[in-house]
Structures are given as structure tokens and as C-alpha cells.
Point group: C2
Chain length 263, copies 2
Amino acid sequence: MPSYATMSPSDIRMEIRKKHIVKPTSGMSRGYAQANLVILKKDLAFDFLLFCQRNPKSCPLLDVTEPGSPIPRLVAPTGDIRTDIPKYRIYKKGKWVEEVEDIVDYWEDDMVGFLIGCSFTFENALLKNGISIRHIEEDCNVPMYKTNIPCTKAGYFEGFTVVSMRPIPENEVVRAVQVTSRFPSVHGAPVHVGNPQSIGISDLSQPDFGDAVSIKENEVPVFWACGVTPQAVAMQVKPELMITHSPGHMFITDLIDEKLGVF
Amino acid sequence: MPSYATMSPSDIRMEIRKKHIVKPTSGMSRGYAQANLVILKKDLAFDFLLFCQRNPKSCPLLDVTEPGSPIPRLVAPTGDIRTDIPKYRIYKKGKWVEEVEDIVDYWEDDMVGFLIGCSFTFENALLKNGISIRHIEEDCNVPMYKTNIPCTKAGYFEGFTVVSMRPIPENEVVRAVQVTSRFPSVHGAPVHVGNPQSIGISDLSQPDFGDAVSIKENEVPVFWACGVTPQAVAMQVKPELMITHSPGHMFITDLIDEKLGVF
């Protein structure tokens, strides 16, 4: 098996396009940013773009394709959002109807793709700073929770922020804030530190998405805005057709993680 | 005369709305962010929003109004972009046809207003750090230049970056970069330091917009992306109707300058 970790983003995308890779992309092309995908038709695209612009912590845009073009010219000029993700989910009127390995047959000439920064990038930054990530240690998915933090409405789109949670040792909380603040285009600084009740989470052991993780003594739960937010919000509008990546099956961009740091 | 410097943004906007103030807004409501305005009709709004998203240094969006609504709900819920700027310019098919004190008669129900961060905020930050601003000392407009730095195209919108220039003492250049990096939503870090030729500027004494300023020995010209860029780019598309603020006559928001700092 080739080492996916050291392959270039364009090589990995080609393997995915040929359907030689059909599995979660975590750890592939290490050092390059991966992205969430939301595809909507043009009639909703302005409002959704505005929603992302107004809610940059949960919806940090890395690229938006021109209507009808499947090429993310800014972040992966040789890429194609119709084929370069291992698994896609098709939603009709807000209901998940199908999981597919490419969306060539679904593509229409008024579709717009939104590539949204993902937490892998800031997790790498935390790891490099000696701050471990519990769900990686426990080999499970990050725990995610619905909150009472409202998103800023834009046209049809409104809803509440979904957050991911990582337990951080008390004496590393300040450093964790500093490290992730550097990466606003991949969710950036936490939205909350400490008491889950304050943001409407009643029980950390019962995440709404993903898996629960253990929290040790002297650790504080730290919450970051999560890329599930825009999908959840878009779904509520029940668009005729919406396409997203399948959880964990991300679009691998040509962007070097470190270059997303603002200083 | 009331002290405009210490009046609240909402009070100043009311004075402007009543046409008691019809002059440049520099220095009014000190400590609050002022904004450039571009109004386009909905048919061009998606592409222009995408253009701003792709060119955040020259087009840092502070707010975008819902199509048809003149209220900038995020940055000034009591404001009205049709009346709260002292002077507007009306452009038809890319030609400046009129300067007016309100645009109530021009307003249509498919118009979208883009409020774009302005350099006043980072200039205040430089001043607070003991770095003086030459065009303020010389009581003239900041010098602005067309460059060969391409903007990232979005739909119909493309063109080159317009920059503003401030001479900075050699030993303050690093600090000037640090201070302005904190404010990405008002143009942020410089786009270039030093040799003007490298970015296509042949003669600093001949700015394309604004006024030339003196550059002293041991000073370096430092260039920031400028809010004139989106206006210049929009104008090239020759939209049926475009409305902007008149130079120096800005929209005063409720945003506290310091809260725009990212860390």
C-alpha cells in the first residue's frame, strides 16, 4: 500500500477519482488542508454565501466555485469537486436519500460548491504545540454538540452553532486559544471555554454527533465552532437538492496548513 | 458646534440623515469603525460577494445587507444606508453621473449594500502605537496607486489591486506590520514593503488617487490594499446602476475599532 500520508494532494485526488481510495481521508497528504463540501443550486447560493460571510467561525470559506464549474480554482486548480471526494451524500428536500462515490450524474450547470475549512488543520497545530487530542488518542470521532449560540441569519438560512469539544489541560488552555486563533480560516479560536451548560449543552457524555470522549481531572472542555453547522443550517431550508461530503471523507486541497496561519 | 469626535455613531448618523452634517466623516465618533459603501443590484450581487470573499485584503466585508433592505443589521441596526452617508455618488454604466445627499429616490427593492472596512481603523491603531501618519500630518488625502497585483477574479469582476501608501520609519516597519496584521477586517497587513517598482508603481510623487506626501530619509514606503479597489473593479463591469459613498464621506458603524482586532 502506498503511503497516503506523504502523497501529494493532486496524486491523492487522482486515486480518489479513479475510486482506488474509498475511505475517510484523515491523515492523507499530511500538512495540507482538507475541506468540508456543501453544494447548492445558484438560487440559494447568494444567501448561503452571505450566511458563511456572517458566520466565519462555523463556516470559514476556503473556496467557492463559479456557478456551473466543478473546479475549485483557488485551492485545487487540478481538482474536481464531482469526483475527488471518496463519498458524497445526496439530500433532497432536506432528507438524506443516497450515498455515492461520485456526483457526475447529479451535476447541473447552475451548481455552486462551497469548500469550508475543517478542524484537521488546527488539530495539527495543537499537536505540534504538544497539546494532545483526546479523540485521536481514543481513535474515535470528535464529539459534537448542538448549542444555544445563534448563527447570524442570512436570507433563508438560520440556526444554531454546532460545536466540537476537545478536553484541554487547565495549564494549556491559554496556549490552545493562542495556537488556534492563528487559523481563522479553519474555525479559529474556541467559541467557549468551560461550563457546557452556559452554551446549552446539558450532558457531555451524550454528544449529538460523533463519539463521547473521556475528560480527565484538571482538564477543561474547550469548544470550537464546527463545520457541521452549515450543513445542518442548509438542511433546514429543505433545498430541492443539496450535496455534501460524507463525514470524514473530505476534499484534500493544495493549501499548505501552515500558510493558513495569519501570523 | 457639537463635538462630532465624541458623539455616538447613532447620533452622528441621525445628524447626517437630517442633512445637518454634509462633510467628510474623518474624526467623527472616534473609536468606531467607518465603512466604504458599494450598492449593486441583486443580479450582480453574488459575483461581487464572491469577489470580496476572494480578495479579503482589498475588500474586507463588514456587512452585506439583505436584498432590498437598507438596514445594515450587523454593524448598525438603527442605520439606513440610503440616508446616513453625507454624500453619495451615482454611477450609470460605469460613468459617474451625479453626487447626491441621499439615495431614497434611487433605492430599488433588489439592491444589496456592501459595507467594506476602511483604513481609518488601522490608522488609529498605528497612531496609538506611536507611528505617525504622514497624510494626517500634512492634512491631505492618503496617496493611492494602481498596481500590477491582480485581484482574484469572480464571475464578471476582475482587475488590479489599488493600494494606499504610508511612509514608515525603517525602525518601525516591523511594528507597523504587526499592528495592522491584527485588523484583517479593515485591510490588515501591508501587501508590500519597499520598492514601488516591484508592484508596478513608477513614481510615488504621482498618485493615481489622493495626494502625494513627502517621504523622509530613513523612511520606507509601505503599501496597504485599499477600499478603492472594489469600486474600481465594479466600475469596469459597467453595471446599469451602482451607488457608492463619496470619497471621505463614510458610513459610521456601531463597531468599536478595537473589537475588530483578532488578538
